[in-house]
Symmetry: C2
Subunit: 318 residues, 2 copies
């Protein structure tokens, strides 16, 4: 099969499409013939050598895909060859085939194309597990989403607004602000022009900036507020004012999906199927896709995400 390999770490130019041995389906897995995958920021880090795959994961990048089941591993029930699916992966999406534990499979939702479904697994699992399960966002609460037009941002806006929360986002341009408001955000703060703290306080903050925003995020929290850090684009180590956190009886969480044990991933995928898929099938939550490129254009896809000019997901078709 063809896959994107990393002969060395570095810029987008190191991404190399090569012929590699076919992926297979182990026990409890299905083999998926991949229709599309999506570029996540973690792939950029992996390409640079800063985020190696966890033990047992595919060496190829790619944390999600859509496609068609072409073979069943031992002990698989409930899925059949020919089923159209999308999946959360621990790696290997940048390829023509991948073996997927059945706990990480989701059916392609009615009304969504096979290719577009590749935009859904990471964002829905990330937003659902962090904003709704961990932070337990309630109707009527205030949510702040940093990076409001990222794939995760566009999904968080739609799910939270539908849930009855008020959503504020930070974005880098007026065009992104407009798109965020169209998707259901109530306010968009242009981070180059204004301080998001002034727009608070917020009951829940979904953060991708890490250290750079830590002090201001804590300042922007409401009483009983929950800050959930899922990215560290602004650095790793920041100052935490515990007296502010205590006065607010607030919490700082940090999480990621990739390194979780299979059973935790399966639990999240199951919760997404129950909590998010009906909204997607009803057309209330849509995948937001910036562009679709071919697997051979993977370097260009990485450049697009690196420059942060995109809105929503960048997909790659095989």
């Amino acid at each position: 099969m063809r896959a994107v390999t990393l002969p060395s770490f570095g810029g987008p130019e190191v991404l190399t499409v090569a012929d590699v041995p076919d992926a297979t389906a182990g026990p409890g897995e299905v083999l998926v013939d991949i229709a599309a995958t999506a570029v996540n920021r973690a792939d950029l880090l992996q390409r640079q050598g800063f985020y190696n795959p966890p033990p047992g994961a595919s060496p190829y990048p790619g944390l999600e895909c859509s496609g068609t089941i072409s073979a069943l591993g031992d002990g698989v029930e409930g899925w059949a060859v020919g089923d159209q699916v999308c999946a959360l992966l621990s790696g290997g999406g940048y390829a023509e085939k991948v073996g997927v534990p059945i706990g990480q499979l989701l059916p392609v939702p009615a009304g969504v194309s096979l290719v577009d479904a590749a935009a859904l697994p990471e964002v829905t699992c990330t937003v659902w597990s962090n904003v709704f399960q961990l932070a337990a966002l309630q109707p009527g609460e205030q949510l702040l989403v940093h990076g409001g037009t990222s794939g995760i941002g566009t999904c968080a806006i739609q799910l939270a607004a539908r849930h009855g929360a008020t959503v504020t986002v930070t974005v880098g341009s007026a065009a992104k602000a407009e798109r965020a408001l169209e998707l259901g955000a109530t306010r968009a703060v242009l981070y180059n022009d204004a301080d998001f703290v002034e727009a608070g306080p917020f009951d829940v903050i979904l953060d991708n900036m890490g250290a750079k925003y830590l002090a201001r995020n804590v300042k922007a929290l409401a009483t009983n507020g929950r800050l959930v850090v899922i990215g560290m684009q602004g650095g790793v180590t920041g100052e935490l004012d515990l007296s502010q956190l205590m006065a607010k009886r607030a919490a700082v969480h940090a999480t990621s999906l990739r390194a979780r044990p299979l059973e935790e991933k399966a639990a999240i995928v199951g919760a997404v199927l129950a909590g998010v898929w009906p909204a997607v099938e009803a057309g209330e939550v849509k995948p937001v896709i910036d562009r679709v490129l071919a697997l051979d254009e993977v370097a260009e896809a990485h450049r697009v995400v690196e420059e942060s000019g995109h809105i929503g997901k960048v997909l790659l078709t095989t």
Copy 2:
């Protein structure tokens, strides 16, 4: 009535017993004739001018008491004059009488003397709300308690060990280590001789040191670990390594009881009555009392707590 007043802020010598107007019971409150109160670290901060009472609270120190109901305010049901109680207070315990919202009353547990019951409200409400409700300590998990022979420490050890968790404590002396092990701790780390991080990882850490221990506490957390900061004896602002927190999918919480709204306090007191009182009445969890002094000896009581030589609670009788 007599009460401990603060004509000025400063050392223990500013604590002044004076005649003041009698406390009264407002609507939804009872008047308690106080038998005993207890010294909490927050009282030391209040005496120094660093922790003013929240709006509406008594100006006198004292966050808990035991005593006998002597009058009922408007709309009080379920309590009668003559009932022996102990109570969580937002202030006013260092006095002969105090008005208490009924949501903060607990009956004196069978088998505990009226005076000794003053040792229970703060420690049981703090430990239950933080270790069992917020951090949801599970049987089989590892708990680290800093300040293992403080009032809170001695209560946390007993409740957590009874719950089937393994308890490690940090303490400042061999005598304190011995007492912590007697109460049910499995390990006691002498913090002057050893690094508690080596004794980890811990699923839950109950911390009273704040900034000074923040980095090491995060280092000592297990996967899915919960750090709960309830004191800042080691400073307020510390460095937080979000990459460590993320790799562990862990959380930092900070809380306090005093500033919570009445309904939250009542919910905690109700949960303590259901979750802790049966264990106290069965003799499985005992109040640990270092000494009992008279209200006139309040300055001496503050010195004892300030020097940290005590084990368990220091009580004051009126």
